[in-house]
């Protein structure tokens, strides 16, 4: 054990009660003081369980069979009480809503310090330190309910830092946040890394910004540590394996790997966007690298309107107008993404669309029904709505009953209900789970069940409310692929609220950007991201990295693409200089 070692895990194995399979297997890990370590891996690979072992939640608050040793700053977590570890190791959880205990910001920051039994002057000093480090002085008196997701996460980090821990673990701290909040948290983490000698261990899926300031990356899969090393080493040497595992490799790393495969090299594998951007720019300018000219593919022209909003204005009260003069056409077979940061009016727009809210001025027509003249119950007959949290829309005791539920409520005949049940259950692939309780399914399965519950009524329009929140990569991709199938096979129309610009770039056929209740951009994602890159950034909506490269390097000959899939389809797959095996591994 090195003298600098602050976390030392030796031969750790762990299994949860009544689960035969080990959640953690033979974990050996050493982290040094002041390191900033990224813990990444597939869903269910044991990352969160490892974090809980490190801060003592396992075994002190969660049962299971734990073997091996975990030593934190000289203390073996199994033999010291949880509260003794709390001053050594702090933990920030995924959902900011569920971890803030106090009503006011400063009280939350003070909470942990008060728990430790310090004097008032020490408490005040540490609270001031926590608030100052996270730049929260101006909002210290604010009520925590009123904060944005990012501010809440910053409060959680401050409340941990005020306890002056040697180690801070952040378990997926940005998954539930909108892009603005995500950026806020990432920026502050980058600053904290420079300012403090605290050791950071962060579990995160979105590596786009994080990869630039981590010292080390640890990749887990099925309870084991697969790779552990410097990011440039890991992402260069194990790129294909990571790609196959489904790790979200940032676009600029993919681009760098593509160039390496083509035979271009640098002294060190580049890890920052700036490095890759400048490298490509230099290659393009010197004509060492060229991209073929793109053919403009003819765009599909679906003329049938399924919904239209005309001059829609909406306000809950006279003082504050939420939507301003929204004009929007939604056409059959479209996958329309409505994007914008929290509070911009996306959800209000969606509620107006299906008649849950009526416009104060203007009209909404959906499936040939004007929402002002029709009852919500009649409008929603042709609409499927998949909620952000599937658990809010599941009410029955078996998967079968759940799928039948909506049709039964609407008085359909038993034979029609059974026929529709079979179709829907097959579409979402839950045939083998039909007698199981909905809440015994995994999160991804519950999401698919939620989709099945609305598929039974053959909806013409399907609405997805923030499908990316709280979802891992695999579940999200399977949900959105299912939506693509529904568009192709059933000619369904999908309207999706999201703030994940990569999802928009990959799946949407049209994007509408909302800001302060107004439509500020509209069109094909490829065009919108390319032509409005700077404006999107000013709205704190970050298009995929590849579209940043596209916008900044188009004059040098970089292709006009908005997402990695398009780049793969148009460039990599058609690259005659690249071996077939390399092509398969990169895309």
């Amino acid at each position: 054990m090195s003298t600098d070692s602050i976390i030392h895990v030796k031969d750790l194995n762990f299994s949860y009660p009544s689960v035969e399979k080990k959640t953690l297997k033979n974990i050996n890990l050493q982290i040094n003081k002041g390191e900033f370590v990224l813990l990444s891996g597939t869903s269910g690979s044991g990352k969160t369980t490892l974090a809980k072992c490190l801060n003592g939640i396992i075994p002190h608050l969660s049962d299971g069979n734990l073997e091996g040793d975990i030593v934190i700053n000289g203390k073996n977590t199994q033999y010291v009480p949880m509260h003794e570890l709390s001053s050594e190791i702090g933990m920030v959880f995924q959902n900011p809503e569920d971890q803030i205990f106090s009503i006011r910001v400063e009280d939350e920051v003070a909470f942990g310090v008060e728990c430790q039994g310090y004097t008032q002057s020490e408490i005040k000093e540490r609270v001031a330190y926590g608030l100052q480090k996270l730049r929260l002085e101006d909002i210290k008196k604010q009520i925590t309910f009123s904060l944005s997701g990012g501010q809440k996460q910053k409060v959680s980090i401050a409340s941990n830092l005020a306890m002056l821990p040697s180690i801070l673990i952040l378990d997926d701290p940005t998954t539930d946040l909108d892009p603005v909040s995500k950026q806020e948290v990432m920026d502050i983490l980058a600053e904290l890394k420079e300012e403090l000698d605290t050791t950071f261990l962060i579990i995160e899926h979105d590596l786009n910004d994080l990869i630039e300031f981590i010292d080390r990356v640890v990749i887990m899969h099925e309870g084991e540590i697969l790779y552990n090393g410097r990011p440039d080493e890991i992402f260069n040497k194990h790129f294909y394996e990571l790609n196959q595992l489904g790790i979200r490799i940032p676009d600029h790393i993919r681009l760098a790997k593509y160039l390496y495969e083509k035979g271009f090299t640098l002294d060190n594998f580049p890890i920052t966007k700036k490095e890759v951007l400048e490298w490509i720019k230099q290659l393009l300018t010197s004509k060492k690298l060229t991209f073929p000219e793109q053919k403009n593919l003819p765009k599909q022209d679906n003329t049938e309107l399924v919904a239209s909003l005309q001059n829609v204005n909406f306000s809950y009260n006279k003082e504050k107008q939420i939507l301003h003069d929204i004009n929007l056409d939604i056409r059959k077979g479209e996958l329309l993404a409505i994007v914008g940061h929290n509070g911009c009016g996306k959800s209000t727009l969606m509620k107006n669309l299906i008649g849950l809210l009526k416009p104060t001025h203007g009209d909404v027509e959906i499936n040939s029904k004007n929402t002002k003249k029709s009852k919500v119950q009649d409008i929603i007959l042709d609409i499927g709505y998949v909620f952000q949290n599937p658990d809010n829309q599941l009410f029955c005791n078996t998967v079968e009953d759940e799928i039948k539920f909506g049709l039964k409520n609407r008085g359909y005949a038993e034979d029609i209900i059974n026929q529709q049940l079979e179709l829907a259950i097959k579409t979402v692939g839950l045939q083998n789970k039909r007698k199981e309780h909905p809440f015994s399914l995994s999160r991804g399965e519950r999401q698919r069940l939620a989709v099945a519950t609305m598929l039974v009524s053959n909806p013409k329009i399907i609405l997805l409310d923030e499908p990316t929140t709280g979802q891992d990569e695999q579940n999200l991709n399977s949900l959105l692929s299912l939506m693509e199938t529904l568009i192709n096979d059933n000619q369904a129309t999908i309207v999706m609220i999201t703030h994940d610009m990569e999802v928009v770039a990959q799946y949407a056929s049209k994007v509408v950007v909302i800001d302060a209740g107004k439509v500020v951009m509209e069109g094909d994602p490829n065009d919108v991201f390319f032509s409005n890159y700077e404006k999107l950034r000013s709205l704190k909506l970050k298009p995929p990295i590849i579209s940043q490269f596209s916008a900044e390097l188009s004059e040098s000959g970089f292709p006009h693409v908005s997402n990695w899939n398009k780049f793969s389809e148009q460039i990599i797959k058609n690259d005659k200089e690249l071996a077939e095996e390399s092509k398969r591994s990169i895309v």
Partner: protein, 269 residues
């Protein structure tokens, strides 16, 4: 009811808001216990009237607490109505009016009023205190009054959790509308509630588990609280309120037991 409605009254700077939580807690106890001394609606009305200036001076934003107020009024009115029609079988009971076989009696009405007041007065006064006090301060006030830490924080946790449960309930209710659940009428409401109970329970348990872990990760179980972030010192206005509350309670005791007033129904007697 949005999460922010629960704390909409916290940020006003009236003297009620500025009171130390211990003075407020004593005030609540005063208004909980005193109505129990009297059986006469007249005296209970006086107690309610004494509480009204405190209500008014707290400048409470009514819209945000309307659902709570409504529930209390419904509870109190139900007590009055149920009691009015209850068959007391007392010889001196006068029938005021009848609806079919149900007879409203004067004794029933006055008993109902007593019960209604005993529900409404403590609830109204508790609302004014809870809506104007930061729950963390209230919990710390309880701890200063030697209430065990676990109980004080259970109280704080419950208050913190209310808005989350309400939000969850709103989402579930929207999902029910979209899935065609009939929520009309008493039967529909009951059905809707039955369907919501399980998902609500599961979601709330999940969230409370995370909150529990977050709190434990900050060393809550050390139970080492000695001093607090806030200055929790009683000031002159707190002493005034404490003294007035004691005088109010002592006065009530004197009226009830010293003068022997308010034990019976002055209207009927």
């Amino acid at each position: 009811m949005a999460a922010s409605d629960f704390v909409a009254n916290l940020d006003k700077g009236t003297w009620v808001h500025k009171l130390d939580p211990r003075a407020k807690l004593l005030l609540i106890i005063g208004f909980v216990v005193t109505p129990l001394l009297f059986m006469d609606p007249l005296y209970l009305t006086i107690i309610l009237l004494i509480g009204i200036p405190i209500w008014l001076s707290a400048k409470i934003h009514m819209k945000s607490i309307m659902p709570l107020l409504g529930t209390i009024v419904i509870l109190a009115m139900s007590a009055v109505i149920f009691s009015t029609f209850y068959n007391y079988e007392q010889a001196n009971a006068n029938v005021l009016f009848s609806i079919g076989s149900l007879h409203a009696t004067d004794i029933g009405l006055y008993s109902g009023l007593v019960l209604g007041y005993r529900i409404a007065i403590p609830c109204f006064m508790t609302i004014v205190i809870i809506t104007t006090t930061d729950p963390a301060l209230l919990a710390k006030g309880l701890m200063k009054m030697k209430v065990p830490m676990n109980i004080a924080f259970m109280f704080l946790g419950t208050l913190r959790f209310f808005p989350l449960v309400f939000e969850e309930l709103t989402n579930i209710s929207n999902a029910q509308t979209i899935r065609g659940v009939n929520k009309k009428g008493i039967r529909g409401s009951w059905n809707s509630f039955k369907l919501a109970a399980f998902p609500l329970l599961i979601n709330s348990l999940r969230r409370s588990r995370t909150m529990g872990l977050a709190v434990e990760s900050k060393g809550f179980s050390k139970m080492a609280w000695r001093e607090y972030y806030q200055d929790m010192k009683l000031e002159n206005k707190d002493y005034v309120v404490i003294v007035l509350t004691i005088v109010f309670f002592a006065g009530a005791l004197y009226v009830r037991y010293g003068l022997g007033l308010g034990a019976d129904n002055s209207f009927i007697a």
